[in-house]
Symmetry: D2
């Protein structure tokens, strides 16, 4: 079995999850290559050193360019803020490394397209980290839609609701900075549901959006502060408030190319909603509903049954016949968030082994960035925008 050495850029929330998935993919799945946790990279030495130990990496480095320069690295896994995705991916691709990149792919569609072109020219395997495609319930949904169980799709209805920054004292971390994150929940959360819309229904043609920043100033992130989540930036001392220049919520209406209509909303101000990614799809023959807070369940209604016993069915997606489940536990024994990353890395390694195109890849990421851009433009133009103009 071939060893493939991995360099991971980023060591916080996403870095931890990537580490986990890289380690466990061969435990659960029968994959033909041997992924080696070679080097983890981050700017703050004492923190990345600690991450290397906790997560089981052979080495750590502090400059991602040095990682890419190493001949013994075969794969670059990008788990850093959006701002640097393009630069890392472009250099990695030019160096012939296979790439796994977190979402959103880039700061905008233009960057994303460049990443796609360079990666294609380099002939590497490039994959985008839309892990929700690998939730067994959503992979099962995709299968059912492909089989025609929903008939013609009429409606796609999605919200992605969180509440982790509702406290006005929550500081202005990098995820609230336009120049680093690109946007707020739009790129962070809408990116996920836009990708799922494309995955499950198809391409979007036109959009109109509405955004709002509810809390316009927040404390600067402080060094000593104990923050509530793992999503914090490295500490910077400050006694002043900083402007929040990303949106706190973004909703939009959309028309799909094939005639369906869609509604989308992402917010970080829905109290009590922790990771409430909820999707409902209505077709001429049936309906599917999914909510990440109950990620092992898929709700299905079919008009093909007797009216007397019609109703929404709660499918507990833990049977051996369900996507990815054979690798895990008996029926009714739930899997968690972490397993979606194991699933996608297992597939990623398989794509590399077989030399096939990954799904989703930089093309998909570019299409998502186009929608993100069109929505943002529409909030300025106050009118509908065509997605393909971006």
């Amino acid at each position: 079995m071939t060893d493939l050495n991995i360099g991971l850029i980023g060591y916080k929330f996403m870095g931890k999850v990537h580490s986990y998935a890289i380690k466990m993919a061969p435990f659960f799945f029968d994959i033909k290559i041997n992924p080696v946790q070679k080097v983890i990279c981050g700017r703050t030495e004492h923190l990345v050193k600690q991450a290397a130990e906790s997560f089981g990496w052979d080495e750590y480095m502090t400059d991602w360019r040095e990682v890419i320069k190493r001949d013994d690295i075969d794969i670059i896994s990008i788990a850093s803020p959006t701002l640097v995705h393009r630069d890392i991916a472009v250099e990695a691709a030019k160096a012939g490394k296979h790439i796994f990149c977190e979402k959103p792919q880039a700061m905008n569609a233009s960057e994303a397209k460049e990443m796609l072109e360079v990666a294609e020219d380099a002939g590497i395997v490039h994959m985008l980290g839309h892990n929700y495609r690998r939730v067994p319930a959503l992979a099962q949904a995709k299968k059912m839609i492909d089989e025609g169980k929903l008939g013609e799709i009429y409606h796609f209805r999605a919200v992605y609701l969180q509440d982790w920054i509702m406290d006005p004292e929550f500081p202005a971390i990098w995820k609230l900075k336009k120049d680093i994150a690109g946007s707020g929940p739009h790129g962070d959360l809408n990116a996920h549901i836009i990708d799922l819309a494309r995955f499950l229904v198809g391409d979007i043609s036109t959009v109109v959006g509405m955004d709002k920043t509810f809390i316009k100033e927040r404390p600067k992130p402080g060094t000593g502060e104990k923050l509530k989540t793992m999503l914090t930036a490295d500490g910077q001392n400050s006694e002043h408030l900083e402007e929040v220049d990303v949106e706190d919520m973004m909703a939009f209406l959309a028309r799909f190319k094939d005639g369906a209509v869609g509604t989308f909303e992402a917010t970080r101000f829905a109290g009590g909603r922790k990771n409430h990614e909820r999707i409902e799809i209505n077709g001429s023959k049936g309906t599917l509903v999914f909510n990440f807070e109950k990620m092992n369940e898929l709700y299905y209604w079919s008009n093909q049954e007797d009216l007397e016993t019609q109703g929404f069915k709660k499918i507990l997606v833990t049977e051996e016949c369900h996507p990815y489940i054979e690798a895990y536990w008996p029926p009714g024994h739930l899997i968690g968030y972490q397993n979606t990353f194991v699933n996608e890395f297992a597939d990623f390694f398989k794509y590399i082994d077989e030399g096939t195109k990954a799904e989703p890849n930089f093309y998909d990421g570019w299409k998502v960035n186009q929608v993100l851009d069109a929505v943002m433009k529409s909030t300025e133009s106050k009118s509908w925008e065509n997605v393909e103009s971006f």
Copy 2:
């Protein structure tokens, strides 16, 4: 259309519901007789007078024997405490009145059997108020079981949970008095789920039970007190505590004649459970689940479907094809507790019009009382008891 004059004995919670149902049965259903709210009866004159006005009765009386003596009364509806069911029913039957009687039918199986025999001799229509048989979702469940959708029945699992007397300051009203109510939640609540067990699965052969009184003394009901529910007795002044001589909970195990096994539990000490009558039936082909707190829903699982899309289906029992629903509203427009009484009185009037035997009737009530008695006996004998010995 023939007028049939009704005399209603009792004017509190059950009296109100009976009044409602008698009034609305002809509004919702196409029934051939014309029920007339002739006379309502209760011991406390000023209260029964007020009830007569509010509920639309022509007259009121204070002695039920006088009501039965009247030639112009065709039907006696019994909504009084259990203690007097037997006496009223026996006299009414002898006077040739048709009878609708609330559950539990009697203080014990012996009384119940007497009621059955007298009523049969008199040739009247006798019906027992097990309204839950007329919840559309449960009538639908019965239909599905009769059609074989569950196959051979293995399990019947029922609890009836309430919490209205958990406060130790709640007074010792008649429902907590053995000499008036016969028992606590056993006769009040287990009677319902035993009847449903017989309705849906069949007769029970042997039982073993466990009871407990958590709060053994309570304040005597006071005259002036504003109590929390409509279930209060007429006021009696007292400054002392009274012993509670009925159980606060009763659970039992049961074997059905046809081989199924059952578990039953009734309690008034399940905090947060208001009227949580929950039933689950597992058969060789499927499962049904019902909970009265979501009374418009029936949950159904079938092993006849593809494993990939198997799951519990939530049937919203509000379609025209569902039992009793044609009388009401469009799909998704819920009905309430009150409608179950309209359904049973509409059927009662139909039985009278057609001269057919009612379901359930005093035979069914007797069978329920037999089970109640056997369970109570088993808590003394500390061993299994045969139902038919009672």
Copy 3:
């Protein structure tokens, strides 16, 4: 107690519900006037005659103008198609009758404003049939918001989903005709959630919408056809398809005057959703969620509790302390759709008795019509529209 004679215009679904509510308001509530079911009115004599009998009306008539002319009629209840609301209301107001009018109030904001002005000039009590304000769970929600339990409101998120015309063979009844109904689910369903938005959050300032007609031609309604719901028009013979000129769905984004943002969607093409009116409101201190398909429940999350035990709470709105519940049953005994009408008619009779302004009234209906008009305009202009321009 004063008798007040009622003339009801319309005898189908809404006519039946109004009849029920008028009859039962005095049964459940202590109201000071005596509502008399004097005359019911409809164009098709044999049908209205039958309705008069079933629903308990003294007389029937076939011309609503004749009803209004009668001196012995005190109240006009309007349960006819939207097209004739304005004419009936204007004439009734001029004749000094109190008016209860179904929603949506009028074909457009201009008509609605005329109704308001005439009614105000006439000094009558005018009330609009937004019965959902009288769902106890929503009245409770209003109370909690008024008490500040949600803090500053950030989000209003509502969908009203049904599926009753998904079958392409379902005929083009009056509800699918622009000249009679004014619009499709927009006026039928969005009107409800717009009213609730105003009730619970406040006025809307700007909107942008998206509509779609999925099935553009349908069979003409035939005489003999057995249709699935009570929503059918009087039979007309035809062998041809007719164009559907109302939308099948309408979604819109909205900004509220006070800074909140809202999303709204109404559709008749959400398979499995029967009367799925779902509302979520997120404020700085808490969240409330309601779904009409579980109308006795209100979900509440508060950030005022310990994080360790925070969570969405399912309030079963059946306690005596909840709005309207004292009139009904003990805790856990559900009420149904029909009770919301009893509640609003009881309030209507109280307004008349006390000579106070009704809530909601023709002013509220006008405001709803303004929003409806602005949304419809925005689908043509393809840009945001100000509500107050209409």
Copy 4:
């Protein structure tokens, strides 16, 4: 950091889970010792060899006695059928190895007591694999009960429902053999809920049970057969039916020492229930409800809140302040079945490092076996049995 070498006996379902947990405990938790996956042991060489590779063990062996004899092994993890737990544990303890043992601890209370005594004499750390104590939601429940949030406990109500052997063609694997498994769902599933009853409420004093075998003969397990689960025995060829000599269901009533009452039921014949371990506890101040099929949720009702907003609260147990969660992901990102084993092995390693007594240990396992035995005896004696007689 000290290396501690582990020998794992068993390599199927439980062997896989133990392997996972041993590997991941140091990834998620800060533990002071270094667990080494030294040797895995099973009787069938080609299968255990494959398991060693997949699960990352340095070596494999086929005789557990040889594993225990090795001086370089510090810990024995027992994941074999119940039949051999006693022998392995006794020998391992005598050899001074720390022991982690799967549940149920032994074939009966007598064996379990012997294990306890030998282990205590040897002074080793002994721990029992009741992983459900380490579900964060149940650890949180324990904390709330200890804090008095439920007041005096009245009711413990538990079912553990599965359906994996409902098909009569499912073969008679070792779990259906009394001489290997000891019992059916009683030892397999009731053991879990009895342990949770002790964990959350306290010791049980008397019991009465009811068992049933629905399908009394099944095919012998065949070599080539593709079975549905990982629970299969090593293949044995046969064309004949075999008797099933364990129960298919076992329910029992119980009285706790401190006055609470309990109902318990385990079955493998509840269609649609996959791993439905559901527990409800009612106390004088509150109620808690848990269901393993929604393992990240805990439902809580408190009577300490205003009646108006009382209700069952769904606590999503994914906050950093919840037990074990700090090791994992942000709020709303679910964990799975596997994490409960990581939690218990992390604690086990901590007990070893600190030299403290484990919870639960062989004393707890013995107490569970006593209850199991008393229930089984009661099904023969057909009367209540005292737990401490066993």
